[in-house]
């Protein structure tokens, strides 16, 4: 997908219709820069594109319900309707698209307005050049650039850290799965199970009475499982909502100021420490489990080892082992009928019988070899016992330390809660009380979720048992046999697909971590390694362990994540010839790309941005577009705009920017009593 041009009409801060913003479609000069001061319309432009495509807005947008331009509403007559729209032209797989999303707002009186439904026109330009309407526009957009991925293509650079702390983790992981390809396998598993269910129904209809009854029982269990899974899903959604509320209350407490803010900030830090301790406890449990499953038997075996080794020692001392002859050697002598002393050996005579007794004794040599081998293994095991004891004891000590730390942190959190509950500030008391209520609901929900999950697992076991019972019944007809085979194939196919998905996931995660490290280390000047956890959260590690991330590092880390993910997606789609994500072309629209970064990082991110995607649109204020960035990015800029804001305030500070020797106003005092904006395209040289 490549953006060609877009315009806004009465959309948020943009009064009436803007001229077209043309995006650069040049492969080398692939960056479009829009200069605009903070608070004038940068975030609005980012949101206009997201709204046009998906009818959603970013979380940082102030007054999201106010889509229509306030001045247009003020100037409208009572009863009059004004149109607020965003129109976008883009290209995808050699086809041109036009998309226009409009909402009409009716003025009821000087203060009240009513918003109508949004209307969408989506068209594509056919071979004959005529525009044809697309009815299922949302499906079409989903195929071009899936909605759940839009956060990776349209984002605010200053707030990009959300990638490391997504509110809805499930949705986040699903989006990543879609990008890197393992969603294909998840769906294959779901649909194979769907096919299996249909085959089960088919079989139930032709089976005998007992089989039918078993199927009925299995169906009931499956329905029960479905209900439990629905409840689990609902609980997950509720938890997301409760956590949002919890976060909002916590932020409100911080905004109270003074001691209340410090206490809440301290509590948030403690909650983070608690999470990190819990992670360490999980790791510790894994270490202990591994030790116990690999080496645990050693603890219970020393007596058996010693007894065996003593026995071998005694046998050796008595000369019973090792045997002087191998059975093959004795057999050869008997076959050749001549003893090693030269005496002839004739069957039935005494010398033959004497040598033959050696054959019986020598045939025990296989056991003897085995016993000697076991002696070596047991000696090694005996030596290993103290080490195993030490390692397990070390892991247990670490566990005790972690539990002590956990207890202390929990105690401190509890104390802070009490302090806030008894605070002199009424607002703090109220907020803390709300926060405690919501936390109690979260705890209850998590508890319920645990119970439901347990119930779901038990039901799954019961279903498996029922399936085995059904399987055990003999096939009554050729058709039944055939369907049974198909069901078996379905089950095996699910197993095989799960295996492939797990191996792909493992491979992809390793590859993704490597790519993130490569990009991060290219941008960062610090010698850190990036570590990616199971839930895709990222941490930085130095040789001394995990290090805290600065704001710049967090931002760079998230950009590295996006870059690595896109790089991987490009390779994946090229490999599988997916048509959904066009193999290499997608836009990236970044609001305040360099906002919170330190100087050194700004330069590196500026170098990285043109390579991040095949088309970048970056929205910057004057301070975000400094001399260093200008120097690095200039060769890649294919289109450039300046949005000038004219303010009626007489004492406003005027701001301008020099581009190619020409001065452009960013903020200027207005000659009239209204504020207004002007959009100017910068002439690109060279």
């Amino acid at each position: 997908m490549k953006i060609l041009k877009f315009k806004l009409n009465n959309y948020r801060s943009f009064y009436k219709e803007t001229p077209w913003f043309f995006a650069s479609t040049d492969d080398k000069k692939n960056v479009t820069v829009i200069h605009c001061e903070n608070g004038v319309g940068k975030t609005t432009l980012l949101n206009a594109l997201i709204w046009a495509l998906y009818e959603v807005l970013t979380e940082d947008l102030q007054e999201p319900e106010q889509l229509a331009n306030k001045r247009s509403l003020r100037e409208a007559k009572i009863g009059e309707e004004i149109e607020c729209y965003v129109e976008l032209f883009f290209e995808h797989l050699m086809r041109k698209y036009r998309l226009k999303r409009t909402v009409t707002v009716k003025k009821l009186d000087s203060k009240e307005y009513v918003y109508g439904n949004t209307e969408v026109i989506m068209q594509f330009s056919g071979d004959n050049g005529r525009w044809t309407d697309i009815k299922d526009y949302s499906d079409e957009i989903g195929r071009i650039l899936p909605k759940q991925l839009h956060n990776y293509f349209f984002f605010n650079g200053e707030r990009i850290e959300w990638i490391q702390r997504p509110i809805n983790k499930k949705e986040f992981i699903q989006a990543i799965s879609l990008i890197v390809g393992d969603e294909t396998y998840t769906r294959a598993i779901r649909h194979l199970n769907g096919a299996k269910k249909k085959l089960d129904e088919e079989l139930a209809n032709i089976g005998d009475a007992e089989t039918k009854y078993l199927y009925k029982e299995k169906k009931e269990l499956e329905e029960k499982l479905q209900e439990i899974e629905k409840r689990i899903g609902d609980n997950d959604k509720n938890l997301d909502g409760y956590r949002k509320q919890e976060k909002a209350f916590s932020e409100l407490l911080i905004s109270v100021g003074g001691e209340v803010s410090s206490l809440e900030e301290e509590r948030q830090n403690l909650i983070n420490s608690l999470k990190s301790i819990d992670n360490s406890l999980t790791d510790n449990r894994k270490i202990l489990t591994n030790y116990l499953s690999d080496k645990g038997y050693l603890i219970f075996s020393p007596n058996a080892f010693t007894k065996f080794l003593d026995l071998i020692k005694d046998l050796r001392a008595s000369g019973t082992i090792p045997q002087p002859y191998k059975s093959s050697f004795v057999k050869k002598i008997l076959d050749e009928h001549i003893c090693i002393c030269g005496r002839p050996l004739i069957k039935g005579e005494k010398p033959y019988a004497e040598v033959e007794t050696w054959l019986n004794r020598a045939s025990m040599s296989e056991y003897e070899d085995l016993a000697l081998k076991m002696e070596g293994v047991f000696e090694e095991s005996v030596r290993e016992i103290p080490n195993t004891f030490n390692e397990i004891s070390r892991a247990q000590k670490a566990r005790v330390e972690l539990l002590k730390r956990k207890f202390k942190v929990e105690e401190k959190i509890y104390e802070i809660g009490n302090k806030l509950k008894g605070s002199d500030v009424e607002r703090a008391r109220e907020l803390e009380s709300e926060l405690q209520k919501i936390r109690s609901i979260i705890e209850d929900t998590i508890f319920r979720q645990g119970e439901e999950t347990k119930d779901a697992n038990l039901t799954k076991i019961a279903i498996n048992k029922k399936e085995r019972e059904i399987e055990e019944r003999e096939a009554k007809s050729a058709r039944e046999k055939n369907i049974k085979l198909q069901i078996k194939a379905c089950r095996l196919a699910v197993n095989e697909t799960e295996k492939r998905r797990d191996s792909l996931k493992k491979e992809n995660r390793k590859d993704l971590e490597m790519r993130i490290n490569k990009i991060f280390n290219n941008i960062s000047f610090k010698p850190y390694n990036v570590f990616m956890a199971d839930d895709y959260s990222l941490s930085l590690e130095s040789i001394d362990g995990t290090v805290g991330k600065s704001t710049s590092e967090s931002q760079v880390l998230s950009l590295s994540f996006i870059g690595a993910l896109m790089e991987q997606a490009k390779e994946y789609t090229a490999k599988t010839e997916l048509i959904g994500l066009d193999s290499s072309i997608y836009p990236m629209v970044i609001d305040s790309a360099f906002g919170n970064l330190g100087e050194a990082y700004q330069k590196k991110v500026a170098e990285f941005t043109p390579t991040l995607s095949s088309q970048s649109i970056i929205l910057v204020s004057k301070t975000q577009w400094n001399e260093n960035i200008e120097k690095i990015m200039r060769p890649y800029v294919g289109k450039e705009y300046v949005i000038s804001y004219f303010t009626p305030k007489n004492d406003a500070t005027e701001i301008n920017i020099q581009i190619n020797g020409i001065t452009y106003d960013l903020v200027k005092r207005s000659p009239v009593e209204n504020d207004y904006m002007e959009i100017n395209e910068v002439i690109i040289r060279g």
Partner: protein, 56 residues
Amino acid sequence: MAQPDSENNNTTLSEAVKIIVDKVISLENSHLHQERPQIVNDVLSIVKGAIIVENT
């Protein structure tokens, strides 16, 4: 509807499973951005096709 390949007349169950998985993955890849309700029927056809091969 998936049809059995004539050269796979002696397909064992494990080979049939591999064929099913490959075909289903390929089907899913081509519909990754739009989940159609009838996709389960297509998967069922693939399974039936592969097993018919195994039985002949």
